[in-house]
Symmetry: C2
Subunit: 361 residues, 2 copies
């Protein structure tokens, strides 16, 4: 089938212009006589690609100079495993605020080497909201406070950065980085797997305030040392160079489109359109997340009768709307509306939902 | 410039047919309506790609059923960091036999959590040979014995698998996997970054005898647990799916070309051609590795006068022969002759070398 509107949660839809450029250059990159898949990561041609990607990302996200940017293989889960090793002492406390599945994962990756405390959790309410700041039980001796800015499965997003003053705020922004302007200086660390808003699968970005890199952390392999990785410009070993290149193309595309301020406007309109369709369906569709914590990036929704799920998915697919099946943890549907999803895609989804309701309501 | 013969050590030359297929499918993969870069790693379309890649790799390398195959992000250095965490107790001894730069790296990645012993090393001789088996000082209580099958920088290769009976043999085959038939059953673990003989950068293969996965290892994050990763079919988290796909295309290509027996014949001919040209140059070119330990994959060589290096590289480039500059550790030149390098490429290099010698000898 021709290219569809792809609502996958990640790996996710990429801008067609990015794919077309990667396609055009796949056999011969510039004057190298080779594919970018085949050239040395330490050669001048790739170094220029890597450095431009970082410079453009710094521009896009307004990353202050006192933050290092690390590009690394593995996903956000790997970062979650390396956070305590780099930024906490053995057995030290760290506070985790849990608003969904991925916040729990972050604790699991850290629990073997630190005292990973659940400072607050909205699990008792089925992760349909963020835990109110007033309910957090923060430790006095925490190495950091960890939050998940946007929960990809549960569709729950922090719409304001919570105030934290006892320790650096560390945030998993995998599914909402670059979706709107962000004051990086409010955070000690911001990290994100790229396969949602930053482009391709297989590469992850860690933005870390440089003073934190001076922390001793705890015994770990040199390859897992973020200070060394920052010093080596993310090339302690062979990086996922092709993935880095596609990330760079995607960041360039976002700058060309008007940057994060423009994407904030588009994402607000896209999310409003879909939530209005759900809320206006008279219960045929429903989203259960508290209004103030609804994600603009991932919209889980349920049909009033789960017996219709299968036919909904099949008809949607026939209409060129793919990857709408919800995560197995929640069931139902989920539409991910990252930056590369055009407003026309969301409009097509809303139109389809209304027609489906007319036929099956 | 058009596509050249690319002698890069990794990322390295890929078969043109693999690049062309990846290019053709980059915007629309099968009937998904999306790029393979954009589809879920857990969906049926990608799962079929992943499973075929594993099945084909098992066929190509004749991997016995009692070995698990893990596909993972990060390179061989990351594997070196995870080996002791998964397969040794805290502080336990492990023996490392060092025949070049990467053997030393393997020790560095392990030294923080085990007693990583140098059982033998050829460093005193400048890594121009492998340490004779009779000189190895093996420990009685070693968790494993680690060797580097082929040293990419120093151009030193084990041409026979050494006998080890005290502990499982663990081998870094990053730059020689699939270059000839290999009896996997002689090893406890074989691992390899893919970006040399298995295809693209950004993915690594770990082949591990299943009984070793029952070892307790030592405290580590769940994402770093190889037993869990094997059980989850390498999908504990989002894998580098596009890279996995290109690996699969490359493995399919190797099977289509006749498998590892055929590549062994080609690689033997290619290496013989280049070494003969070096040895027959009357000292204009030289390779310093002991004849019996010369690598078929990576051939470092030096011009008799280093002042000619720059003009050699520039003229080679003009002749369509790229990425011949040696690693900074050794200087000089290096030609990497992985499976995707055709014999015609080596012949072109040899012709060029003879013409260059005529002009500058």
């Amino acid at each position: 089938m021709p290219r569809a509107y792809n609502f996958a949660p990640g790996p996710a839809m990429l801008p067609e212009s990015v794919l077309r450029q990667a396609q055009a250059e796949l056999l011969e990159f510039g004057t190298t006589g080779a594919s970018i898949l085949e050239i040395s990561h330490r050669g001048a041609d790739f170094m220029a690609v890597a450095q431009k990607a970082e410079a453009d990302l710094r521009t896009l996200l307004a990353i202050p100079d006192d933050y290092a940017v690390i590009f690394t293989a593995g996903g956000a889960t790997t970062v979650q495993a390396l956070l305590p090793l780099n930024f906490a002492a053995p057995g030290q406390a760290a506070d985790y605020v849990v608003s969904g599945h991925w916040g729990k994962t972050a604790i699991k990756q850290a629990a073997h080497c630190i005292d990973a405390r659940t400072a607050a959790s909205s699990e008792a309410g089925g992760f349909r909201d963020v835990p109110a700041r007033s309910t957090w039980q923060l430790s006095k001796d925490a190495a950091y406070v960890h939050v998940t800015a946007n929960e990809t499965i549960h569709g729950v997003e922090w719409r304001e950065i919570p105030e934290v003053d006892n320790a650096p705020l560390v945030a998993d922004f995998s599914s909402s980085i670059a979706s709107e302007p962000l004051d990086i200086s409010r955070f000690g660390i911001v990290y994100a797997g790229a396969q949602k808003n930053l482009g391709p699968v297989g590469i992850t970005v860690v933005i870390v305030r440089r003073d934190l890199l001076a922390r001793a952390g705890q015994p770990r392999a040199p390859i897992f040392d973020y200070a060394a990785q920052a010093k080596a410009e993310s090339m302690l070993n062979t990086p996922p160079s092709w993935n880095w290149y596609v990330l760079g193309l995607t960041v360039q595309w976002m700058l060309d489109e008007g940057g994060v301020a423009e994407f904030a406007r588009r994402n607000t309109r896209k999310a409003a359109l879909l939530y209005a369709a759900i809320d206006g369906s008279g219960g045929f569709y429903r989203n259960e997340v508290a209004t103030a914590a609804r994600s603009r990036m991932n919209v889980p929704f349920f049909l009033h009768d789960a017996a219709l799920d299968k036919v909904f998915l099949e008809h949607a697919r026939q209409a060129g709307l793919v990857a709408l099946k919800g995560h197995r943890v929640l069931g139902g549907m989920r539409a991910s509306l990252y930056n590369a999803m055009p407003e026309a895609g969301v409009q097509a989804l809303v139109n389809f939902m209304q027609e489906f309701q007319s036929a099956h309501g």
